[in-house]
Amino acid sequence: MKKRIVGISGAVSFVVFLMLFWAVRHVAAGIPEQQMAGRWSGEGEAAAQVSCFFSVNSGITSDRIEELEHSVDGALAEASVVQESENPGARLWADAYSASGTITMVSDRASLEADAVGIGGDFFLFHPLKLLSGSYFSGNDVMKDYCIIDEDAAWQLFGSSNVAGMYVYINGIPHMVAGVAERPRGRLEEGAGLDGPLVYVSYESLEQLGQNHGINCFEIVMPNPVTGFAEKFVRDNLGSDERETEVVENTSRYSFLPRLKLVSRFGLRSMNGRAIIYPYWENIARGYEDILALVTLFEMVFLLYAVGTASVLAVIWWRHKGWTVKEKALLLKDKAERFWERAREKRREHRQEKKAGKMLERSENKTGPQEGQGGNLL
């Protein structure tokens, strides 16, 4: 009876472990900002998404990022990664950068001071916001006067969320509303900074017409021929002081080992000596990291319990098995010998049959023409 209870509890524990394992995968897959590598590369191609966060004093400029971009192709060529796609516009890598700040937008009916993200590069590839109307824009567009506003901002400025194509004025300069985005809601999201209207403008617009603390985030998705290649490349080529920068590999941040590492750093993670202002998506990602670290702890407990009970049961079974290894070994040996004996017997028979067949053939050859001749005679 006891054995059964231990067995059932072990099995339940293992099932709980599997459920937690699946839940972690599901949660990680549900954070689109961290899944760029999966979206970017096809099956069987390894790519990694790497994010860098800069402190207020790091002095990173768009020119510095442009220099980094120029060195990516060279590094990939050195690692023998070449473009294989037949599509003429295909790129091996994509990147984006952003700065956080505030900006004042004025429409014909209202004025709004909102948190702003100044974007450069293909920001919305990395951050696929859910759009209620319109489309994304890119920092690589010819015009830099597009903006995406969230539904709250759209409501306050226009009283509607179907306002793509309309104009808002930032410091007297008209900006076209490219799209209206849905603002993610939830406890983590609100804590991360998404607690008021948020607008996305080009980095140039934010720098010239708003207030900001400089570029605080750079993201890149690129081929990762060997584990850690992309992260190492970014770390080596950033040209910024290590103390002013934090580099995160998004692609593997929620896998088991990094989570376990996070658990081992319990208590140390809250310490911060850098003046880094995390953008809201990183705050959310870090929030999930904390939650998943806790879940990992439970995963470990359940797995250990399941393994422990399985071991105990195995030992009990071993002790009460009613046979010895030697017996079984002799039995196996006997069976093997019999098998080989049978095989040998079969081969022998086969050879004898073959021999008999040949002899018959020979005798037939000898008698055959005689029959023919006889036939002719007939």
Binding site: E86, N87, S135, D141, M143, Y167, I173
Partner: protein
């Protein structure tokens, strides 16, 4: 056993019914259930159309050929007579300046004084040099026929002192002359030395006035008495005509006549008195005038004397100077004092320069107003009342009548490639502006960032004023393309850009939709649409623009109701 078997059969029957019911429900509602689990997508047709890439920008309208109004001296502004936007005619007052000398003129005068002082000290140095010159007496004697060095030095000192004395005398007389001039200018009536005479005259005048007034009163009293007599005489006539008693009236007439006589006497006395007073007043006046003339005469003659004295003293000083110069020239020939001489020449040059500067500033001196040199519109005012003008900064700008306007915007090289000179720009919010035309006139490197940016210059005409901010959009001609999709339909991964096309597959119960990837190349884009090219495109496909969940190629989707 039988009971058990029956129960088991019942159970199997129930289970079968439940199973079949569930299967039936699932069969009927499978589509609905599946639909709820599928991402809902919004689609649009791939169609042909035009793409017009526009460059937008914001700039400030400036005058094509602005006229700057400058005040070339530092003068304090008392008030500004115009406002931005005012139309002015040539000669209209723009600024009122405080009525005082410009700072430049004052500085120039001070510089002149300093230069003169320097010249004086240079001369002093020169003379000192002459006195201190280290020359042997015998050498001097040999060169000048026995005149000793000491003699020269004595002569020089004497000549110098004589000149200085003469010059001092000139200064003294000049001062004295100025004092007399000031004295003459002063109103002699207020001179203290005329106090007694003035007082006597004033008293005589007062007495005269009193006598005059008494005489006038006596005249009035006489007239009244005479009127009374004639009135009584008339009554007398009337009474005598009616043979009445006239004795009372006679008495009254006699009394009245006595009054008239009395009044006549008083008048005669007053007239005598007045005459006496008039004489006394005239005398006092004469005395005063005489005294005043005497003083003035004295001053004038003194002034004349001082003038003569000044002329004489100046002449004397000039002679002394000449003598000194001659002696100096003689000595200069003997001693090497070129350095000192040069110092004097330099100082003299400086004095001349300073004098020239003062003359120039005096010439430049402007009145208390600044007027418009041309007719036009005030487009900018850079000064307010109370501030001081500066020669370098224009105080205001005028837009000359009939001249055009320009506007510049800075764009990236990439943006500049999309426009060409002659392109007409559209105004954002065009309804706000009336009758305005903006044309691209030039593309040149932006001086602020010549490598990265270009400056687009536009000609602006119509109802526009300098300083107005305009938002414009300018772009190349529209181009036609076969396949155009909304920008939101374009997706990208490491295999390049692609669109997701919805393909339908009819099934017995309903139609199923599947998202299919089509690789494309984006060949042109504008604010909302992109022109694409792809081997698998034939036009008219449903392309996915938005979805409720991320859609993978090959995934089944459901179409939005609209």
């Amino acid at each position: 056993m039988n009971e058990n078997g029956k129960n088991r059969r019942e159970w199997v029957k129930t289970a079968a019914i439940i199973f079949l019911s569930v299967m039936l429900v699932l069969t009927f509602f499978s589509n609905t259930i599946m639909n709820y689990s599928l991402p809902e997508v919004a689609t649009q047709y791939v169609q042909s159309g035009t793409i017009t890439a526009k460059i937008r920008g914001t700039g400030t309208v400036e005058s094509d050929d602005p006229y700057e109004v400058k005040v070339i001296q530092s003068r304090k502004v008392e008030s500004v007579a115009v406002k931005v936007g005012d139309q002015v005619q040539k000669g209209d007052v723009l600024l009122y300046l405080a009525d005082e000398e410009s700072e430049e003129l004052e500085t120039a005068r001070q510089e002149l004084k300093a230069a003169e002082k320097e010249l004086d000290s240079a001369w002093d140095g020169y003379y000192q040099g002459l006195l201190d010159a280290n020359v042997t007496d015998s050498g001097v004697q040999a060169a000048n026929g026995g005149v000793s060095m000491e003699t020269y030095r004595q002569q020089l000192t004497q000549a110098q002192n004589a000149y200085k004395d003469a010059q001092n005398r000139v200064d003294e007389i000049t001062e004295w002359k100025d004092a007399i001039g000031r004295q003459i200018d002063i109103d002699t009536n207020t001179d203290s030395s005329l106090g007694d005479e003035t007082e006597a005259y004033e008293k005589a005048e007062e007495a005269f006035q009193a006598a005059d007034s008494r005489k006038k009163q006596a005249e009035i009293a006489l007239q009244a008495a005479q009127a009374k007599v004639s009135g009584l005489e008339n009554n007398m006539q009337t009474v005598s005509d009616s043979d009445g008693d006239t004795s009372e009236l006679n008495k009254q007439i006699q009394t009245a006549q006595a009054e008239v006589r009395n009044a006549e006497n008083v008048l005669a006395e007053a007239e005598v008195e007045l005459q006496r007073r008039t004489v006394a007043r005239d005398e006092a006046k004469q005395t005063l005038e005489n005294k005043r003339n005497k003083i003035l005469g004295n001053l004038t003659s003194q002034s004349k004397y001082t003038e003569n004295d000044l002329a004489a003293a100046t002449e004397d000083a000039n002679q002394k100077k000449k003598a000194l110069d001659e002696l100096t020239a003689t000595l200069t020939g003997m001693f090497s004092l070129d350095g000192k001489k040069e110092a004097i020449d330099d100082a003299r040059e400086k004095v001349e320069e300073a004098q020239e500067k003062v003359d120039k500033e005096v010439e430049k001196s402007i009145g208390a107003t600044v007027t418009a040199d041309i007719a036009g519109t005030v487009s900018e005012i850079n000064i307010v009342a109370g501030n001081t003008t500066s020669a370098d900064t224009p105080v205001m700008k005028l837009q000359p009548e009939g001249k055009g306007y320009t506007m510049s915007i800075s764009v990236t090289n990439d943006q500049a490639r999309r426009v060409s000179v002659g392109d007409r720009a559209d105004l954002v919010n065009a309804w706000r502006y009336d009758d305005m035309e903006v044309t691209l006139a030039g593309i040149r490197p932006d001086p602020q960032d010549p490598g990265q940016k270009k400056l687009l210059t536009f000609n602006v005409s119509g109802s526009v004023v300098a300083g107005q901010t305009l938002n414009i959009s300018v772009g190349q001609q529209s181009s036609n393309f076969d396949y155009i999709v909304p920008n939101s339909a374009i997706r990208e991964d490491s295999n390049g850009k692609f669109i997701l096309v919805v393909e339908s597959k009819p099934t017995p119960l309903s139609t199923r939709y599947k998202a299919v990837r089509v690789d494309v190349e984006v060949i042109a884009s504008d604010d909302t649409q992109s022109a694409i090219n792809g081997a698998a495109l034939y036009g008219g496909e449903f392309v996915i623009t938005t979805s409720t969940q991320p859609v993978e190629p090959g995934q089944q989707v459901r179409l939005a109701d609209n």
